[in-house]
Symmetry: C2
Subunit: 354 residues, 2 copies
Amino acid sequence: MTLTKKIPTIQDVARFAKVSTATVSRALSRPETVSVDTRERISQAIVVTGYTLNQAARSLRQRTARTILVALPDIGNTFFSAILDAIEREAGARGYGVLVVNRFAGDDSGRRLQDYFLSNRADGLLLFDGALALQNLLALTGEPANVPLVMACETIPGAPFHTVRTDNAYAAEVATRHLIGLGHRRIGHLRGPAGNVLTVERETGFRTALATAAVPLFPEWLFTGGFEMEQGVAAAEQFMALKLRPSAVFCANDEAAIGFLSGLRRHGLECPRDVSIVGFDDLAVAAHSWPPLTTMRQPREALGRLAAAALIDLIKGKPGNQVPQHTVLSSELIVRGSTARAPILHLANAALQQ
Amino acid sequence: MTLTKKIPTIQDVARFAKVSTATVSRALSRPETVSVDTRERISQAIVVTGYTLNQAARSLRQRTARTILVALPDIGNTFFSAILDAIEREAGARGYGVLVVNRFAGDDSGRRLQDYFLSNRADGLLLFDGALALQNLLALTGEPANVPLVMACETIPGAPFHTVRTDNAYAAEVATRHLIGLGHRRIGHLRGPAGNVLTVERETGFRTALATAAVPLFPEWLFTGGFEMEQGVAAAEQFMALKLRPSAVFCANDEAAIGFLSGLRRHGLECPRDVSIVGFDDLAVAAHSWPPLTTMRQPREALGRLAAAALIDLIKGKPGNQVPQHTVLSSELIVRGSTARAPILHLANAALQQ
């Protein structure tokens, strides 16, 4: 037999491996039904003929890791505890293990991600970290790797991936409207970390609510923040340095809100007497902090469970999964003691401003 | 060739597989140096001859998962966030992935644990869950599985495993002595979950401190508790129902302490004016709760890092690892606003009691 110069076909592979084309096909789609011996021979034939090598190599490699890879931006953030719990339950019930990695964004080559799939340690990726370069993700999900991917919570707007998330902009709007409804007209926002999609979405919702109610926003009422308690404490210093302070602050998450509260207290300010505060997430501690925190409850159990289910469906090639599907969950306003009616004094001040 | 009735040897395997004994030996110790074909033949020969089957099967299976399995009792408990973070960093730096599983104790057969190793998905087990039956763990670490195991935080006293933990009894003693040093003579303890080794150790340290200082302990001052916030809230109800209440309570962990504080507040009690409270762990939120929580700081980063390092050393067969090694870390008393001097009134009451 001589090798042809034209694009090699499955017939070339079959001829070279001395098996039928049906066997080659079977070895590619369901390798476990073909003997190791035959598979080896087909594998060699593929290499020699140059038959769409990558795809074939990938198909030959059995997907038997029965493991999903969960990539988190910050495993130390307690927001993820309940989510990981739900992922582990859902995956476990379906016979899948859960590999956890942290801060992939620090690896800008994307190679560390790829390695997990090249070495067949995971069957798919559940990505909670929106900071990864889109090109690296496309390289992962495209030919030849074809890694099943679901993005959760932090998504990349417009990217062609399955997503499971909450409507952050709308939830931020609801949180801000709650403050407006209490009579507050001087409302600040403690921002999330720079460059994060959640930061952008939550600030957008905050601005929408203010604009809709014609409540003015001063740039100095947008505090540099983050998602960590210590960043909330630091934002309290910015707050204290203001000449005209807001009477209410919507914080980008609960951890920052708890830190902000703690920082204000060090300066003798009391919540909600001096400032009303709204958080975001409803961590377990929100109900037991002092004062108990008004916040937007994110359905963390459902986020974890549905994200894991979506990825496993994708891995198993469930029909209807060719087109990216988007699951958007709602958050719920939980009113507790950290928000109160705006004091008359503040309203008078606000009137003075206008 | 006929099979002998005597205990089969490596020669029997070699003869049956039509290879040299050197090849059999190589296939067992370094399977990657032998062709798949030959390995298959040797594998069959092992089965047919009955040659110390299990050990051989295990050796044949390559340890290439480059993954450690981390088993947690409750992934939803934020205590583990910082620990998981440290494990992931240490393992990642050494080229290992981290598989996370939760609540293995619910599976009393131990089969779910075994499956991870039989299917070659992990190279070793980092166990934070002390509730597993010792016999299942011994089955895992003994012949033929020989799974490398390190127990962390929750250990099984006297079990022949490597351990990384803190000295819980001593730390509880330090926490209780802090209360005695503030003049408290009516001191209660919010216990951890029943049947947990940490519960026993922390209560032991509490009792030791009281006994040493000749401070009396009334059984009704031992509150039924747990490691979760809601259990702390429930314990506050037990506290409120008492006729003679302690002036200070040592709580088995921070989450319970925060719930306990929250529960007391609902009844109008103030900490530390009415009750001094000490926690255990020093979660990030302890510094920012109200009042800021006095607690025993557990070195969570070091616990995670050293436990992962110990397991990977064990997997790599680092010399000196034949005998179980025990790493015991210290906890540190962090004094914050939740503890204060005992009111004179309480001292008088205590005197009245005696």
